[in-house]
Amino acid sequence: MAADRIAAPLRMERSTLANGLPLVRQEPPAGAATFAATFFAPAGWAFDRPELAGRAVLVAELLTGGAGRWDRAALARRLDRAAATLTSHCHPEATEVTLWGPEAHLAELLPLLADAVLRPRFDSAEIQRVRRQLLERQMRERTQPDRRAEKELFARIFPAGHPYRETGLGSPASLARLTRAELLRFFEERYRDRGAGLAISCREPIGPLTRRLEELLGRGGLPPARPGPPLPRPPPPAPEPLQIEVPGGSQVEIRTGGPSIARSDPAYPAAYLANEILGGRSLLSRLFLNLREHRGLVYHAASELEAMRWGGYWTAEAATEPRRVPRVLRLLDRETRALGRSDPTSAELDRVRESAIGSIWIDLENTASAHELAVDVAYHQLPPEYYERWPAVLRAVPARAVREAAAEAMDPDRASTVVAGPLARPAGSTAR
């Protein structure tokens, strides 16, 4: 069983419901007793107007807070009886609603997903409850070093009006403006759109599954997809790190990052490998080896490439004690620059890409993790055989392409840096 023969368990197929909703179906892992189903809609917080910030997240949370004839408590009891879960996740571009449960209960559970995305109740008590939770999350964004650093980093990378600038939580004032009517309006606008889609990992064959979903989600046509918001050009980065004093903790959180490429960019496979080399492939990555393993400066150091539909960004992160911040900053910068200047050695590149290819086996251990691949294919409108071809695609990327992709997609000269925490020697600009 060679690592590149991963095709069978990853088999996906496409279908389209009568109303135009695209569907990706994946066979669950052998022996799995569970299914997973995700509905996604172009309803992320990029569509929030500034004065109504928090709206997309609030609506996303409310989808699982009661729908159809089920109020929140009744829905929870119904899910509990089957040990199932219904969750939502909102990001700048979209919201995903995912149902997970025993395969044997698929037929009786799928209507709950349909209710959630077609007939959410928006009960007043639920709106108040979610609003309270968002207020608390806003408070953590102000007072927790990691969340504060992330929020400030995006505000530094992206200009006002850019869809990736915000974290979606809004402010106390914007939340206070969100009436039930406003939430319903957002739901009607954003959740009935050809930009929506479905990914399902289950045993039911695609024909009967498509018919079942048509019964549940309607046969009428959806309005055409609307384009995403414009992407204003990111400003030149500030030369010095933004230093934010956040008292009460022991450790300073460091975030650096900048704009990057979209998932559809032809350079994505090379940029993916560049990020894996920098900090994405944990124990093999340069950040882990140089900051933790060789120097013992940090417990955690990693990087991430977030290549989305409209565009993307990359970030690198580490946390350390205040007196080590300057050294860690220098090393983060050095490693990022090195990646765009020199080709990785063939040994390093081979190690990282074979690791990435082999790890798909681990993703296929259970339905929940395998399903993430199906959601990826569905959301990014990739061919169903995308992950079958993925090993060959990665193996075809030369070292030179990795360097060039790093220079373009993870450019340190377009990066901003934020440090937040109990700073020992505040320097540069300071925000409180």
């Binding site: 368990p9 892992p29 408070m139 093999l284 955690h300 074979e354 681990i362």
Partner: protein
């Protein structure tokens, strides 16, 4: 070797002559193999001065052994797409590696190599000290960690459950390489270990390979010291912490039974009733408690607007531990008000127990969740090892049967004992930004 077929499917159990216990779960449909070594050593076996030693040893186990010099084991596993990690708990430490099935031999060689021959040089221990401290620093950034540490320090005055497995900062700063190496040499070895292998492999060659790799290891591993029991509490204990971080929250802990106590099944049911977690019988048995809108605390405290989060947690332990309720206040709600509301709910359950409908629903939830919990080799190996460390063979099925047969009145009686005011510990976390309220 005898085999059994419980909720995990077919499992073969055995013991090597040097004392190493084995659990093998061959699964022909899987694409991976997951190898876990569970050591019956955790912070419960430490003493003041060496707190955090088990966790520090966990770090050192990745720093090289005779056949895997520093960095080689990480690299070898990652290169084939595998995943490796470890975690230290109060009662045990677990090391796990999951790899694509053709590479199953690799984690076996790693575990055999480091079981009693991990490198503990002074230079490596010193370098790792800063990383362990950095891990502790990172935890200290979270107010929840500080509050939980305070809660256990309040509740336990003698027993090692007093400290977190990370250990006290002062002990991490002072502990010598020799102390750490002695701790490792004394307790780590086949006699204190359970090897669990789940996934795609043939049983007979796997047994032979395990025999070849582990059978030659010396029969090391002294019985870890049993901690002295914690005296019964004689009154409520309280503490207040202040700092930035979130809305105020409350941790309320009650002295709870050990896993082998006859009261354990009713305690599991109280945890599920109040907080909603199926815990031992869920997919995320080891994860943090999450929101369960059907649970009683949620319905009475979150749905009514007093709290934004209300969870309960009883983790089965070798010795009596804590049943903990975590409540996070909604903006503008005072901790006094929240605490009064909680105590009313606990009094209600102690007075009346669960309703027939509640009991029916939590039993059903546990029954179904238990059937889903073994999906994939990694989860299977985790659960087999975890239950093997918790108690005698068959403990999972025995507990499950007892839980499903426990009547409402036993849960009510358990609540009366569990939530006694004399064993209550309360930690309040107040924040400057959100102080005050109704």
């Amino acid at each position: 070797m005898p085999s059994s077929a419980g909720p995990a499917g077919r499992v073969v159990a055995g013991t090597l002559p040097n004392g190493l216990r084995l659990l093998l779960a061959p699964r022909s449909a899987a694409g991976t193999v997951s190898v876990w070594v569970w050591y019956r050593i955790g912070s419960r076996n430490e003493v003041p001065g060496t707190t955090g030693a088990s966790h520090w040893v966990e770090h050192m186990m990745f720093n090289g052994s005779p056949n895997f010099p520093k960095g080689q084991m990480d690299r070898a596993v990652m290169e084939v797409g595998g995943y490796l990690n470890a975690f230290t708990d109060v009662d045990f430490t677990a090391y796990l590696t999951t790899v694509p099935a053709p590479h199953a031999d690799l984690p076996l060689r790693i575990e055999a190599d480091r079981m009693s021959r991990a490198r503990m040089t002074a230079a490596e221990v010193e370098r790792e000290r800063t990383i362990v401290l950095a891990e502790r620093d990172g935890n200290e950034n979270a107010p929840e960690f500080k509050a939980e540490e305070e809660l256990y320090e309040l509740a336990f005055r003698r027993h090692p459950y007093r400290w977190d497995p990370l250990g006290w900062r002062e002990d991490i700063q002072r502990m010598t390489a020799e102390t750490l190496a002695t701790y490792y040499r004394t307790y780590y070895g086949p006699r204190n270990a359970t090897l669990v292998v789940a996934g795609r492999f043939a049983e007979r060659p796997m047994r032979a390979r395990i025999g070849a790799l582990f059978g030659r290891l010396p029969s090391a591993g002294a019985p870890p010291p049993r901690p002295a029991p914690e005296p019964a509490p004689h009154g409520e204990r309280r503490a207040t912490l202040r700092g930035p971080g979130s809305t105020p929250f409350l941790l309320v802990g009650f002295r709870a039974p050990a896993v082998d106590d006859p009261a354990a099944p009713a305690t599991v049911l109280l945890d599920t009733l109040l907080g909603g977690e199926t815990r031992l019988f869920g997919v995320s048995a080891w994860g943090r408690s999450v929101e369960h809108p059907s649970a009683r605390l949620y319905r009475r405290l979150v749905a009514t607007g007093l709290a934004i989060r209300a969870t309960s947690e009883w983790r089965p332990r070798a010795d009596p531990g804590l049943f903990v309720v975590h409540l996070q206040a909604a903006v503008g709600v005072s901790l006094d008000r929240l605490e009064r509301a909680l105590l009313r709910e606990l009094e209600a359950i102690a007075r009346s127990g669960p309703t027939p409908g509640e009991l029916r629903e939590i039993r059903q939830k546990i029954r179904v969740a238990a059937a889903l919990a073994y999906e994939g080799p990694t989860r299977t190996a985790f659960r087999l090892g975890y239950f093997a460390l918790l108690g005698a063979p068959g403990i999972e099925e025995r507990l499950r049967r007892q839980i499903l047969a426990t009547p409402a009145r036993a849960i009510r009686d358990r609540a009366r004992e569990l939530f006694a005011a004399d064993s209550r510990c309360v930690v309040r976390f107040e924040t400057a930004e959100a102080r005050g309220g109704r």
